[in-house]
């Protein structure tokens, strides 16, 4: 969930605007290289096309012997990648360096139902480094920590106020330009101009982009984890096309700075003094510019195709679509000022994609910004947290000491300075996976054709392409600036994406351990088969015995059911010619059981001279009605039977059209059919109701049988035979078959009871616990 910086409402991860106040939500992104979708920092897989965003081998922080585990208190920072504790689960990401621990927006909501954490960053109170306070969301700043200003060294780097109007009011002041690229591209926030004051630190001097060509992209409004940090959280996904930066691989966290694969040919490695490994990839190419120029300006020619403006929603700062081929803005703003005003051929090309909804970009040429001189850059003081990241020997000699004790070093005599600072600076630990990306071969000298260069190139060791020559080193792209959109030649159809997602959920789906898997039941053995035959045989014998007229131990006494009297009294109250509606709601299967009550009912109705209409919602019911009307004596003035198709619908429309009945009699052997009639009668005319039901329905319909206009109930064979007996002078002498069937039923009930109790006790004793 993403917390809206403005109103504090919680929103879905994928929301781009706050549901309650509409403010654009700040999110740091990892862009999926396949389908361009921007995913929350912590994602292992892309939300849309489920491409893996975090290389599999980078998921497990390797604790090799060669790297001594950092002693407690040691200030060495191991840059290892966050690992999701269990693939697919959305558990908290682990493995962040301490200083990043509190920043991930993966912090799980507290389990209790209480108000979820006011801010994703603050599941529990985390001590944040000062320098980040200024750029955390409003909530964090206000919730307990005092809102502190941006650290001075960053102040100077913020984008100048004038060029860009910040959309959301940046309470803590505009972010530094080198961070401005980190702002969530989603929001249509026009990037805030980098603040003028304060020279760049030396170590960043090489990164400064010429301010003239590119206006920095959307400023990093306070928001969760900044992009360049998220690079530490999720380095470039494997599937990403390896950027062919020949002059040696950019370190991951700067990978985003490299030009996209298609447009960039690596520039020659810097000749001046040995730069630190993690910076070496970004030192200025030979000949292109002097030291301190933007190191990554490639020489490759511009792509011939028409420039494609970045689509609106990825343009992030949308308002300022980058000119094609311009260096990513957050870095361009750092480059020394002496770069040529026109973007060099083959500069970092950001195609611009036309989209209807995209705001019309303001392409008015920006004023010529003043470029910080090399010394100014050198004197930029290095913050505490950055100094600890500084590998040995990466800075020039100190040209002064800032007010906070920061040492200003010049770019030229880096080696000497390091010697002095050996004691203070702790060697930065470069992770294993970063080491592999260290440039190995020498870049292609000028004038040499590609074929010649490849033939001399050394073979690649290891990996799928081992043994091949002249391969471009994989360049990890941590994040591509918001306004950069790779040209995806092949648009994945939605169906393929949906299928990929389904496969992914299938693979990710943890086996539901809680459910005891239904044990595969083996086909029952001979024992069970015998038990089945025994039970069947017993039932058949006990059933047939009384039917053949043999004597039975007990002749079933006919007791007076409570519902019978009401039934009889209501029918006795009918006047000759009274309109009676009889609903036959049982099928051929239940006909024999219902015959016990339908026969006495028909004789009773005929005796009262009532005009009876027969209806049924069952097709077979109509046929049964004809069976019942075989005897002409029962046929006086009765309507032809009505078939009501459409179940409740048929009942509802029939009841609404025919209001003229005095009594409704429902003969039902299905509980839902009885319920429909009772409900539609309650909704409609509310006629007095008489109900005749089978045993199965009778036991269930008790809750329904206590309604107001219900006058009488007959349940099953026992009430039916009693009604039959009452209609025939009090005894069943005239109906021998019904008497035998009643005795057979009672016999079967007692035998079934014995079998149930005996079977239950037997199974309890043998206690074979199986699942269903």
């Amino acid at each position: 969930m993403i917390r809206c910086p403005k109103c504090g409402a919680l929103n879905q991860d994928s929301s781009r605007f706050c549901n309650s106040c509409g403010a654009p939500l700040q999110r740091t992104q990892i862009r999926c290289p396949v389908c361009k979708t921007l995913n929350p920092a912590g994602n292992v897989f892309c939300d849309k096309c489920h491409t893996r965003l975090i290389p599999a081998d980078a998921m497990l922080p390797r604790q090799t012997e060669s790297q001594p585990s950092p002693e407690p208190g040691e200030s060495v920072r191991q840059i290892s990648l966050p690992v999701r504790s269990d693939l697919g689960k959305t558990g908290p990401l682990t493995g962040f360096p301490d200083w990043l621990e509190g920043l991930t927006d993966e912090t799980p909501l507290p389990p209790t139902e209480s108000e979820p954490a006011a801010n994703d960053f603050q599941a529990e109170p985390v001590e944040l480094p000062d320098w980040l306070l200024g750029i955390l969301p409003q909530e964090t700043a206000s919730s307990g920590e005092e809102a502190s200003q941006l650290p001075d060294w960053l102040g100077g780097l913020a984008a100048p106020e004038s060029e860009v109007t910040p959309s959301a009011p940046a309470e803590e002041g505009p972010l530094p330009n080198w961070l401005s690229g980190l702002a969530a591209p989603e929001s249509e926030v026009t990037p805030s101009a980098p603040a003028e004051e304060g020279p760049l630190p030396d170590w960043l001097s090489g990164l400064a982009a010429p301010e003239s060509e590119v206006t920095p992209s959307a400023p990093a409004e306070e928001g969760p984890l900044p992009d360049w940090l998220s690079g530490l959280a999720a380095p470039e996904p494997e599937a990403a096309p390896s950027a062919p930066a020949e002059e040696g691989p950019l370190p991951d966290w700067l990978g985003g700075l490299a030009a996209p694969e298609s447009e960039v040919t690596p520039s020659a490695p810097a000749e001046e003094g040995p730069l630190p490994d993690w910076l070496s990839g970004i030192v200025t190419p030979s000949g292109a510019a002097s030291a301190g120029t933007a190191a990554f300006i490639p020489e490759a020619p511009l792509p011939t195709g028409p420039a494609q403006a970045p689509p609106a929603e990825e343009a992030g700062g949308g308002a300022f679509a980058e000119t094609p081929g311009a260096v990513p803005d957050w870095l361009l703003s750092l480059a020394p000022q002496d770069l040529p005003s026109e973007p060099t051929q083959g500069a970092f090309l950001i195609p611009e994609e036309e989209t209807e909804e995209a705001e019309v970009p303001d392409l008015t040429p920006l004023p010529e910004p003043r470029k910080p001189t090399t010394d100014e850059l050198a004197r930029a003081n290095v913050p505490e947290w950055l100094r600890s990241l500084r590998p040995e020997g990466s800075f020039g000699e100190a040209t002064g000491v800032g007010d906070k004790g920061t040492v200003f070093v010049g770019a030229a005599d880096l080696e000497a300075t390091l010697g002095e600072l050996e004691g203070e600076l702790a060697r930065a630990e470069i992770p294993e996976w970063l080491q592999e990306l260290r440039p190995t071969g020498a870049p292609r000298p000028e004038g040499m054709t590609l074929e010649q260069f490849i033939s001399q190139a050394t073979e690649t060791e290891g990996g799928p392409l081992s043994g091949m020559k002249g391969l471009l080193q994989p360049e990890a792209m941590v994040d591509i600036p918001p306004d950069y959109t790779p040209v995806v030649r092949y648009e994945l159809p939605a169906a393929v994406l949906e299928r990929a997602r389904l496969w992914q959920t299938l693979l990710e789906q943890p086996r539901s351990a809680q459910r005891k898997m239904a044990r595969r039941r083996v086909r029952p053995g001979m024992g069970e088969q015998l038990a089945r035959w025994l039970v069947a045989l017993v039932l058949l014998v006990v059933g047939i015995w009384p039917l053949l007229g043999y004597p039975v131990p007990v002749n079933v006494p006919l007791r007076n059911p409570s519902g019978l009297q009401g039934f009889v009294n209501t029918l006795e109250g009918l006047q000759p010619g009274a309109r009676v509606l009889v609903a036959v709601e049982y099928g051929p299967a239940e006909a024999p059981e219902m015959a016990f009550m339908t026969e006495p009912l028909l004789t009773h109705l005929a005796a009262r001279g009532a005009a009876v209409d027969w209806v049924s919602t069952l097709p077979e019911g109509v046929g049964l009605i004809n069976n019942l009307r075989k005897d002409p004596a029962w046929d006086a003035g009765w309507q032809t039977p009505g078939y009501l198709p459409g179940a409740t619908t048929g009942i509802a429309s029939y009841v609404s059209l025919h209001q003229e009945y005095d009594v409704l009699i429902v003969l039902a052997a299905r509980s839902d059919h009885l319920r429909w009639w009772i409900e539609q009668n309650t909704v409609g005319p509310r006629w007095p109701v008489l109900v005749g039901v089978s045993n199965a329905v009778g036991s269930l319909m008790i809750p329904y049988l206590e309604i107001e206009n219900l006058k009488g109930v007959l349940i099953g064979v026992q009430d039916g035979t009693r009604y039959l007996a009452q209609r025939s002078g009090g005894s069943l002498a005239q109906y021998p078959m019904q008497r035998r069937q009643l005795n057979a039923l009672v016999g079967l009930q007692w035998v079934t009871m014995v079998l149930l109790v005996g079977g239950m006790l037997w199974t309890l004793m043998t206690r074979k616990k199986g699942t269903g």
Binding site: P592, V757, M760, K768
Partner: protein, 204 residues
């Protein structure tokens, strides 16, 4: 056009439900008639659905003729008996002699026999209950079922009284709780349809 394709069908489903519901909850003149008309139309459309399902039943059984050895004869019997019955009953109506013959000779005895089979399957399930349920539930269930079996048509009056009380008080409470719970679930599922959250009718 895309909007209509996506929400058009959903809209009609919800409109039909709302109109019929208003016709029941506010039975005033125009709404009552609209409700009746819509209910009858639904009834007629359901008959077309039955016709389509019947054709599918024939098609499935004809498709089974390919594996003649295993399914051939039952498939043929189903197709032949279905078409013959359809023609005879449609022509003669329910009162016709052959309709009566089919009803009394095939449907009533056949379905009654199948219902008779459920007596054995229910009893076997009751006997095996201890394999899937905990002991205290098994004892309670079997005890009450046994009491009801002998109390429904009581030979001993005291069993009848006890069975009647169990049926009228604890069983009533349990079944009423079950039925009311089902009604609550039905209300919410219906509301989700009316709000458009559940859209079984649309192609999405």
């Amino acid at each position: 056009m895309k909007l209509l394709k996506r929400w058009g069908v959903t809209f009609f489903g919800i409109l039909t439900a709302v109109l019929i519901l208003l016709g029941i909850l506010m039975p005033v003149t125009p709404l009552k008639e609209i409700r009746l008309i819509l209910l009858q139309w639904a009834m007629v459309i359901a008959i077309f659905a039955f016709f389509l399902a019947f054709l599918h039943l024939i098609r499935v059984n004809l498709a089974r003729l390919k594996q003649f050895k295993k399914y051939g004869v039952p498939g043929l019997l189903t197709v032949f008996s279905a078409l013959l019955t359809l023609i005879l009953v449609f022509i003669q109506g329910p009162q016709g002699t052959y309709s009566q013959l089919l009803l009394n000779a095939v449907l009533i005895p056949g379905e009654a026999a199948l219902m008779g089979l459920t007596a054995v399957t229910l009893l076997l399930a009751g006997i095996r209950i201890a394999r899937v349920r905990p002991a205290h539930e098994v004892i309670l269930f079997t005890g009450v079922a046994a009491l009801m079996l002998v109390g429904m048509i009581p030979i001993l009056p005291v069993l009848g009284t006890l069975a009647s009380w169990v049926q009228k008080v604890p069983a009533m409470a349990g079944l009423r709780g079950l039925v009311l719970g089902v009604a609550l679930g039905t209300l919410l599922a219906g509301l989700r349809f009316l709000f458009g959250f559940d859209r079984p009718q649309s192609e999405e």
